[in-house]
Symmetry: C2
């Protein structure tokens, strides 16, 4: 089983495959989400294994890497209900001028979370603030699988610092808009926010630090 | 008693007095902190009154406004253990060139919270994420009594949006450095952070949004 995960992982990290559209198989993805909710619920984050989740879903363990990039991504989507797939989103966001990437990220972040609702964002923050293991899992999910992949396409230096600086601005905007709900930021229109915050995010992505 | 609060409040909001050094009286301040911890613990945020806290401390209720700017400020310092006095800090931060205010804020934020420790910041985030009343109290404390007072000295327009944008960057930086502890930002040296984040905060303070 672990051999299967390893070889699938090697296969999946080929850039050409990672950047392309996923093959069909939403049934497999849904089965893994359902199984993960049960297994993480029973065993906790540490105790749950990719093998046990895949076994319960009746699919090969390699499918966890394929659909979620690993255990952390599956946890984020099944348990924390993060309302986007970072692996897909990276491709969408990189489709456009590099100098407008900051604006596209802000627009997508606010559109996604305004729609998902403040409760899910607040629950996510509570989980990260309450559990060191969850915080570590989210580092892998949000930094390694999302921001780092964006930054490496547009930046020439200090990529890890840039990735965490971007994360700081987005999580802070989410804290003010969805968790603390401080006005006027909590109800400022998305395009006004894009104009206000986009250039700051762009500086973290491509500016001189 | 309420009359005392009102007249003291009028007196205290005179800019010349507010900007100056506080008169001696640390005993009164300490007595109010101790009394607040008991009363907030017994009655919760809503149930606790300024009158009850001052009564327990054996001082005039006007002293709550004088030392903490009101119930929210007393709650922040006595219960949430916020490690600075925003009314004092505004004066300190405004002492210097307006175009370097962003850098001074970042430097002071990181120096203060690096010293206070990540546990207090994490507990603060948990309180805000877990209680709507605490979030509302913190809006008054951090936005009205801190960021708004800085912004009004250096900005010409959209002051409330600027104040909440500044808050978003600082709380996000705190989330990444102290709560989630994502590297490299979690251990980046303070002056490197000042160079990286200072200009972004400065744009929120005085730039075109």
């Amino acid at each position: 089983m672990m051999e299967g995960v390893t070889s699938a992982s090697t296969d999946e990290t080929t850039p050409a495959k990672r950047r392309g559209r996923r093959p069909a198989g939403q049934d497999t993805r849904s089965a893994l989400i359902e199984a993960a909710q049960v297994v993480f619920g029973e065993s906790g984050y540490e105790g749950a294994t990719v093998r046990a989740i895949a076994g319960r879903a009746g699919v090969d363990a390699a499918m966890v890497n394929h659909w979620f990039g690993g255990k952390d991504g599956l946890f984020a989507q099944a348990v924390l209900e993060v309302p986007f797939d970072p692996l897909e989103l990276v491709d969408t966001l990189l489709d456009g001028p590099a100098e407008e990437l900051g604006a596209r990220i802000i627009r997508t972040f606010l559109t996604t979370w305004d729609h998902a609702g403040s409760d899910i964002f607040t629950a996510l923050v509570r989980s990260v603030a309450g559990h060191q293991q969850v915080a570590a899992a989210m580092r892998n999910f949000f930094i390694s699988q999302f921001f780092a992949k964006l930054v490496e396409q547009v930046s020439a230096d200090r990529m890890e610092l840039r990735a965490t600086l971007c994360a700081s601005q987005l999580i802070g905007m989410g804290m003010i808009r969805y968790v603390a709900q401080f006005e006027p930021l909590a109800s400022t229109e998305i395009e006004t926010m894009v104009a206000a915050v986009g250039p700051n995010l762009q500086r973290y992505l491509t500016g001189e630090l």
